[in-house]
């Protein structure tokens, strides 16, 4: 090795300027290559060993944990958890702890009820809960985010206030996770931040929040009115989703106002909510907007007629079926079927021009 470097230095010293630059570059590159190769070999063996060990320990732990989770005798369960605690306390054996955490987390995501409570109990009665707290406060943003998720999955309700601290954390991803977990652990009040929110909530975040909301106990009802009249479009969207899935009939007036909203997506969703709630009496109000709407929204109105309308709407629909737009004709004819005018549609289809007739026949094909 030393000889090689000496040789290189001698070679280098004997050269002219332009050779020196090249030689230097070459030397550096070779050096880097060498270092990288060593790194690859080292990380590979280490990682391979660690992964194998982890898998082995995980398999053995799986049965232990399952027997705890499904242990009906509470005293015995406490005893079993104590043995697990001893295993975790071994400072050298962090692998067992990590493997156990992975198993418990997967179980918490899949199981509910008493089994989930058992998982929570394991976290509480071993040192895992303290570990989470410590990592939450000390580690970098990615670990913080993951820990917050974990706290939520395991339902460690007593850590609600610890999580609450992170709802206005500087890193967005941590903030987002904390918002969801606060809702999960603390219930409806966790959504109050929406009332004054200026920034937009992404669709993904809305899905997370809604999922948690749907899991809350039945005695908690969200108040959607204030969201529906928000100036923040994403909050309105979220409000609409909540109104839909929680059957908030009392928001009818707000919904009617939203039919004039500038944001197409919001109007679209609003019409969907009307349909979902089965607000038949408001159908006329929706139909009034039809002439002013874009094609995309017209299609949505036609869908609503199919769900909410009755036989008396057939003239309106036939009128729409004269349109040259594919989507309008298709949706209008489908709605004809839905309001029970199949026979009429069969009778009149041949009086339409070819293009419209073909689309109507498409709608009549029930296999689609």
């Amino acid at each position: 090795m030393g000889g090689l470097i000496d040789f290189f230095i001698t070679l280098y010293n004997y050269q002219q300027q332009k050779y020196k630059i090249l030689l230097l570059g070459l030397g550096i590159l070779l050096f880097v290559a060498f270092i990288l190769l060593i790194l690859i070999i080292r990380t590979r063996t280490q990682r391979d060993l660690a992964e194998r060990r982890f898998r082995r320990i995980k398999t053995t732990l799986e049965n232990t944990i399952l027997s705890i989770v499904f242990q009906a005798d509470l005293n015995k369960r406490t005893e079993q958890i104590k043995t697990l605690k001893k295993l975790f306390e071994n400072k050298k054996n962090t692998v067992a702890r990590d493997a156990a955490r992975e198993i418990l987390r997967t179980m918490a995501l899949q199981l509910d009820g008493e089994s989930l409570e058992a998982v929570t109990q394991i976290y509480r009665e071993t040192n895992l809960k303290e570990l989470l707290l410590q990592e939450l406060n000390d580690k970098s943003w990615d670990v913080k985010a993951a820990i917050i998720e974990e706290i939520g999955d395991i339902r460690l309700k007593e850590l609600l206030f610890e999580v609450l601290k992170y709802t206005d954390y500087e890193v967005e991803i941590v903030r987002n996770r904390a918002q969801v977990v606060v809702l999960k652990l603390g219930g409806m009040r966790g959504l109050e931040f929406l009332n004054t929110l200026k920034s937009k909530i992404s669709e993904w975040q809305q899905i997370q929040l809604l999922n948690q909301l749907l899991k809350l106990p039945y005695n908690q009802y969200p108040r959607t009115k204030i969201w529906l009249s928000s100036s923040n479009d994403s909050v309105v969207m979220f409000g609409l989703k909540v109104t839909q899935h929680f059957q908030q009939y009392q928001d009818k007036e707000e919904l009617i106002k939203l039919l004039d909203h500038q944001n197409t997506e919001i109007v679209k969703k609003t019409i969907k909510v009307f349909t979902h709630l089965g607000l038949k009496n408001e159908l006329e109000k929706i139909k009034l907007h039809y002439p002013n709407y874009s094609i995309e929204l017209k299609v949505e109105v036609l869908k609503a007629i199919g769900e909410l309308g009755d036989e008396s709407d057939h003239l309106f629909l036939i009128d729409c079926m004269m349109s040259d737009d594919y989507f309008i004709v298709k949706e209008a004819s489908k709605s004809m079927l839905r309001i029970g005018q199949k026979n009429l549609l069969y009778q009149i289809k041949d009086s339409f021009p070819d293009y419209q007739r073909e689309i109507i026949e498409h709608s009549l094909d029930e296999r689609i």
């Binding site: 799986e62 049965n63 399952l66 027997s67 989770v69 499904f70 198993i103 997967t106 179980m107 918490a108 995501l109 899949q110 199981l111 509910d112 009820g113 008493e114 089994s115 989930l116």
Partner: protein, 122 residues
């Protein structure tokens, strides 16, 4: 009551493990399969009193498994146990003849109750 035989079809190893653990504890005989295709080959040779199946599995989905089993006239009740929680999926499952539908995360105790009900009905 004689021991009822249950087949658990799920591609998640831990779920299989957990279910067979719990169900065996309740006194059932449990077999597991990790996807639709292996489930079909197991069912070919054995009769089960109840089948618990996931929906999203490689190659043959739970929907298809359900369809094939019902088509060949399997009289074992089939309970779908899945993460899919959309109206569409639930409707489709019952449409195809599923006897019950439970979404993950699920309570194992609830599952046991449903299994008992299904067996009684049978």
């Amino acid at each position: 009551m004689s021991k009822a035989k249950i087949l658990v079809v799920d591609d998640d190893h831990l779920i299989r493990q957990a279910l067979s653990f719990k169900l065996e504890k309740e006194g059932y005989t449990v077999k597991v399969a990790n996807d639709g295709e292996s489930a079909l080959s197991i069912i070919e040779n054995e009769k089960f009193d109840i089948i618990i199946s996931d929906i999203m599995m490689p190659y043959i989905s739970g929907f298809e498994l359900l369809k094939i089993l019902k088509e060949k006239g399997s009289d074992a009740p089939i309970l779908m146990l899945t993460a899919l929680n959309s109206e569409n999926a639930v409707v489709k499952a019952f449409d195809l003849g599923a006897d019950d539908y439970l979404t993950k995360p699920f309570s194992p105790n609830e599952l046991i109750m449903r299994i008992k009900k299904l067996l009684e009905k049978k």
